[in-house]
Amino acid sequence: MNLKNDELTKSINTVGDVFVKDARIKARNVNVFYAEKKAIDEVTIDIGNKEVISFIGPSGCGKSTFLRCFNRMNDTIDICRVEGSITLDEENIYDKNVDVVPLRARIGMVFQKPNPFPKSIFDNVAYGPRIHGLADNKSHLENIVEMSLKRAGLWNEVNDRLISPGTGLSGGQQQRLCIARAIAVSPEVILMDEPCSALDPIATAKIEELIHELGNDYSIVIVTHSMQQAARVSKRTAYFHLGKLIEVGKTKDIFTRPQHNQTEAYISGKIG
């Protein structure tokens, strides 16, 4: 697919600027099918360098399905088929030669429910660097673990019990451990699928603070059902409805004067 942006703009129905100048990820005319059912319908969007973007929309709108396309998590579902083009730094991530293991290191993911491995706190974070061979020696590995836990805002809470099981932490701490695990392999993009939906407001605030900080170094795509959260953490917001990308724009515009009436209806609680 070699369409230029201008030509693409004519072919899509999304309201707002789907393209950004410094795109890391470029999704073009993406369709996703579960068997015969079309879950994503001709979605085109850029994810910018070091931008935090939220995907919002009612349940079943396809926002998580689309998010999972970015690191080929949908490959794990037999009946799922992805069409169109998605590139990371102009490299087609769906190329048959792409190995998904390093891809998922470059595009890390944090899930709705914290899912630490049944290992120690240290080993949870060290797992990725070990399998990807990122540490030269033991002290380098320890340094990566410490830096990752610090960046995830967890170091001060766990540095005296790194050998304790990760599953013994509170829900919010477990989620930050998962974020530390994701950033330990130096990703370029972090995908977050409702990362705070299982957390209390304090733990949520800590994750949101973390997202603000991580946004200085990584591109972050966050799927959330909380519109307040989307408004708080992201600079750009994309609204999905029935598999289509209805509108994308600056978060402050989407939440104060959306252009599309479906966006307006959703964010003001008139459809769900």
Binding site: M227, Q228, F255, T256, R257, I267, S268, G269, K270
Partner: protein
């Protein structure tokens, strides 16, 4: 106002603030209309009623501020809902201020009656008041129907009030220069004319808020102005 929230109690809250604002607008208009009429009829009983009634406007404004504050805190309104609440709070404050001007005009009219006021040549306060009253009526209609075109028309009408104000200002000063005994009357007339001009300004502010409510953006061009009283030296 469109009422289709999934949570219908949200609609009730929005309707409540909207209805109270319309009520405040109607009361504010009545107060202004009466104070302008009373200026002409010099009916002391009616004047005192306007002065006493002003506290009702203050109370209603307090009620609107409280309910708007609660909607923001409890409902987290967004988009048109957010604009509706913010605009209601702003307009309510403006209407309360217009009420204060109606009371002030009434107070000064009482003094003018004591001073045995008669019209000064070339000064028609009643006409200026009626034109402002028409703007006030139009802006309330514009709010009720969310009619941004009418709001722009109201905004552009302010120019005429400014011109009248400048004209009357010069005439009143001129009368006072000719006859120094007219200074007390002239001074109150200057304030009354200025108060009416300020009411027209406030009505224009409301019109601009309505434009923002409907369109989600402020009017970008500058408001037409013709009040030159702060620039002109009377001859």
């Amino acid at each position: 106002m469109e009422n289709k929230h999934i949570d219908s109690s949200f609609d009730k809250d929005l309707n409540k603030i909207n209805n109270n604002l319309l009520k405040l607008g109607t009361l504010g208009l009545n107060q202004f209309e009466k104070c302008i009429n009373n200026f002409g009829t010099q009916n002391l009983e009616e004047i005192n009623q306007v002065i006493a009634f002003d506290e009702k406007l203050d109370e209603l404004d307090d009620k609107i501020q409280k309910s708007g504050f609660e909607i923001i805190a409890l409902r987290s309104p967004r988009a048109i809902d957010l604009r509706r609440v913010i605009v209601a709070l702003k307009i309510s404050t403006i209407l309360e201020r217009i009420g204060d001007y109606s009371r002030n005009i009434s107070n000064r009219t009482k003094v003018l009656i004591e001073l045995n006021y008669t019209d000064l040549p070339g000064v028609n306060i009643g006409k200026m008041g009626q034109k402002t009253q028409q703007m006030f009526e139009d802006v309330l209609e514009s709010y009720t129907n969310e009619d941004d075109k009418l709001a722009i028309k109201v905004r552009n009408s302010d120019f005429k009030i400014d011109k009248m104000h400048t004209e009357y200002y010069l005439e009143i000063i001129s009368s006072m220069q000719r006859n120094k005994k007219l200074a007390p009357i002239g001074t109150h007339l200057l304030f009354i004319a200025k108060n009416i001009e300020r009411v027209a300004d406030y009505v224009t502010d409301i019109a601009e808020q309505i434009y923002f409510l409907v369109n989600g953006k402020m009017l970008s061009d500058h408001r037409p102005k013709a009040d030159e009283t702060s620039l002109k030296i009377p001859e």
